[in-house]
Amino acid sequence: MLDDFMIRAALAGIGTALAAAPLGCFVVWRRMAYFGDATAHAAILGVALALALEMPIFGGVLVAALAMGLTVSALSGHGFATDTLLGVLAHSALAFGLVAVSFLSGVRVDLMGYLFGDILAVSVADLAVIWGGAAAILILISRRWSALLTSTVSPDLAIASGIDPRRAQYVLTLALALTIAIAIKVVGALLISALLVIPAATARSLARSPESMAMLAAGLGSLTTLGGLALSYQLDTPTGPSIVCVAAVLFVLSLTAAAARR
């Protein structure tokens, strides 16, 4: 069954969508969309690092995304407006990454594959990495769900209840770096944020509790991936962007549904 590239692509997409859903909810609730963007852009720097050191892409991207996430967490609140800081870091990381990759002479790099994903070329080994990473992310987030949610509602309330909100920030940064590392193959560095934010934003107008929003986002994300794959197969369009297009259409439909319900 795993011999079929479409099956592998679908499984890769669903695994990524499941991991991205609860994290995407936190990205929406904590207004971290730009933070996600910056971390994802650092992935290209990670790709260059991995190619230069001849290590697995997954490892390089994970290290770069984690470094970026921790840098932003540490710098924010030290005199820079966070969105300015993120704007500087996101695009610098992307630019340095692109330049660094160009120095790697002798390596023929399919940059497009890392920028926009190459889901149709997912191997069985990639699938193992994606589902392993997704399981790790889901375990990490579900075990700390309540503390993460309380810290998101109010850091001070969390502290009064004996929860350290900085820890929540680190947990989310780690989960984000992991998600980016597994999603770069699926949608690419430029579109990862879309996979995080759009399903969560779609679920938001339909959900009645934080938990149901995360589950709805997981369902919508999976549906989106399958829809994008089908669209790309039918119309011969690039797969990663097709997935994001389907996600965007579902988002607009959810707004219409929510408006009709009122």
Binding site: L149, T150, S154, D156, I159, A160, S161, A207, S209
Partner: protein, 257 residues
Amino acid sequence: MTMTDTSPLIEATGLVVRRGGNVALQEVDFTISRGEIVTIVGPNGSGKSTLLRTLIGAIRPSAGHIRRAPGLRIGYVPQSLHIEPGLPLSVARFLALPRPQPADRIAEALNRAGLPDLHDRRMTELSGGQFQRVLLARALLERPDILMLDEPTQGLDQRGSADFYRQIEEVRSELGCAVVMVSHELHVVMSASDRVICLNGHVCCSGAPDVVATAPEYRALFGTGTKGALALYRHTHDHAHDHDHPQPDHHHEDHAI
């Protein structure tokens, strides 16, 4: 009220807090024992909220020590709380943060708060008064040893805040918890307190409410320093509760509003 248990719930000595280059708190000492109601008063920017948040552990002091009783359970009611509209949070779900609570305890907490019908209402759809009472109900669900309230009646009308304070006193006598309150509604607050701390970056004066109300430091701060509303409250307070004391001098500003 029993003051026999002498080991303090929180004891802070020599607290210094710097915020953005300014000194927000200078050498502040603070102690509270089981069952006490302590009110912190002071003008805007005097460090009242900073002191409360430092005692909770949300702000790290640059000098001084804070000792909390081991296993101390804190019920904190912040000055304001913004709930992100994208977060679908019902009142019942909010009350169960961070620890799940049995349904009957949630129902009981809502009944006690006078909000039995709001179980499934979204937090973002509550009125200011309802929101404050839900915050208090949540703080009480943890069965706190100490309740810490930061201007809890902000945005409530006179009647609403009087109800709120009555509820706090009920809670104190039921649960026996200590209460620390930050407020500028002196006329209501001071009558309910065992001890008042008048803060203006440092502790200006402290003691029983009637002692503080007549202290020159207090009157310097509230009588002439802030003119309008605060002085008006003192004015009201004096008439409402201090009939057997001689009337303090009234400045013209006292009548300005």
